[in-house]
Symmetry: C3
């Protein structure tokens, strides 16, 4: 009984919170895996943007408990021939389309297994595999049953030739901050980035910055995030998903930035 | 014990996800029906639009498990003399105001029962019957207790004189698609619709369409849905809840549509 | 076992529903307090606005069951020296930063206890104490364990010198209504308020008002709320969080208002 409680299903989707998609998927999960809690980690991944999601996934699933099942649906190819897959990485399970979504996750994993799922439900719509196909598979794993398919070599999954870290904005948050696909752990805190023509240096916490200062920090999931003290960086700089972030050549590492200058450029 | 797990409460409301309304209703449900999962199918039904909700309800509750309790609150008449009702249709329970919300559902049901609820809570606000009145009734049903009222003939419920299917847009989704009140099952795939002055033909799946093509398809809940390949039909065509959709007289069934022509019209 | 069910965790945050913040906090709660339901009462409190949240909190937690744990995170000072606190008021628990968030709640409570939490998790990010610090504390209380800190005199908590009731708008809801920080219980229904240059008198329910009429009513949580019949008061009057509401001097209590006049001013 207790084993159930330590299983959890976490959803990562671009469905949006409003609308009938997330709720119908939850209904299937509760029906097929009674007693297993379901949490929504991302409901607003950039729509149809597999690459942005691929860089967010390892960062935002690392804090989930072992055996957690991540139900990941960013699926522009729904209804086409793309395959369904289950991946186990470092003790967590991931379910979703074989479209590259798990490629960064697997590349970084110390141990990984991959499965192609050939099971199909009795009724399969052409446009909502999150509900009809992936949710029942996630529920199967959450019940501690094996993946309903055959194991393959991880290299047989679709693995686009994407960089180790992505020097782009991959998500714009509610507080007006911009999350990038760069892991902060490998970056010197002396680094100065250029984004949308402005420079930004490192600050450890929000409390350290002056009003109106543009800065970068290591966010709570280990990624480089761009923020404007007491402001909305996204709005003020016109940032979008896909906006490039570059190590600045104008300002060599160590250059002290005047806060105002940083913003007004 | 297991019986609890197979009961589920699904909410259908126009409350919006943000704000304190949905959460307070959830709190009452968890308090009054401990252990019963609650899922939100629609949190953003068009505000105060009973008719649009009436056509969405049968389509979006058909996939819920038997004995599921649907808690439905689109209630512009809250605080007035409108009655509270419980309906059982094809094995599922529905709770909500007697304002026509269940009229399409009941008309299509193969078996239906109706109850007028005379039970009232100790404390009843004048503006939030979702929390104070309907949620406790839904919890009662989820605990397998009978409806706290008296059975009536279904014909005694308010049943507006609405058509069998509604040739209008009833919901705009997050992906920019427009859901109509037409069931696709009765419509030939050779049919061409006209919406906002543009023509659209049928495609089975998104993968079959060319970039920029306007088309209709049977969505995963069986309704006719209007979409623009790799675009936002809602924004591009200025669609709104209530926009009419017509069988085209200009283009007889079978006419092949040039994708570009379909959009630019 | 049953004791668990009667515990519940209710969140009050400014995180926004979209984005990865609320979900990660839920994951920690489910992991640390298995079987305890979690409901989100407010996910969109005005961002970083401690004062607005302080007046909403007592109104919106009063309907929660006894022993309920309220996890409250409006925390502009995250990462700075501000303390973590647990408060017990009238049988309910509250967890959050010591920044004034609980000051109105405690001032009105008939019985209150306060605790400073010195426990810290093994891993503490600098920007997400909701997930790393406050959620584990809430889970501890939900498991019926004592607060992991030492009791202090309530007066030692940060208690800003704010008025008993706040004559300002503190929240704009999805239906276009504006919630104020004024408790309706102490206000005569003959009172006429002035907001954004317009006058508004009292109506008990929405059903009593004429189309287009601006009015105030006691909302379902006991606060004075400004609404426009069949319209969006917030949009039409340009209301914002912080907009003042005044007892009108122009119109003495009792003056009958012509509905149209009330809006057009």
């Amino acid at each position: 009984m207790l084993r159930y409680y330590y299983r959890m299903i976490a959803t990562f989707t671009d469905f949006g919170v409003p609308g009938p998609y997330l709720g119908q998927m939850h209904a299937v999960l509760h029906r097929e895996a009674p007693g297993v809690p379901v949490v929504d980690i991302f409901t607003d991944l950039p729509a149809f943007n597999i690459r942005a999601a691929a860089y967010l996934l390892p960062a935002y699933s690392q804090y989930l408990p072992e055996n957690n099942v991540c139900l990941c649906v960013v699926d522009p190819g729904v209804g086409t021939a793309r395959r369904a897959t289950v991946v186990q990485c470092d003790g967590r399970w991931y379910v979703g389309p074989d479209n590259g979504l798990f490629s960064i996750l697997m590349r970084r994993a110390s141990a990984a297994q991959a499965f192609i799922i050939d099971w199909r439900p009795g009724q399969l719509s052409s446009s909502f595999h999150g509900r009809d196909l992936f949710a029942p598979i996630a529920a199967t794993l959450a019940r501690s049953d094996p993946p309903p398919g055959k194991e393959i070599e991880p290299v047989q999954l679709l693995t686009p030739d994407w960089p180790q870290d992505l020097a782009e904005i991959v998500y714009l948050d509610h507080f007006g901050n911009a999350i990038t696909g760069l892991r902060a752990s490998g970056i010197s805190t002396a680094s100065i980035f250029e984004v949308a023509g402005k420079l930004c240096g490192f600050r450890r916490i929000f409390g350290e910055v002056e009003h109106g200062m543009l800065f970068w920090y290591e966010n709570s999931n280990g990624l480089v995030e761009i923020a404007l003290a007491e402001g909305y960086a996204v709005r003020e700089l016109g940032l979008e998903v896909g906006t490039a972030i570059r190590f600045s050549v104008k300002a060599p590492p160590g250059t002290p930035l005047h806060p105002r200058q940083a913003i007004r450029g």
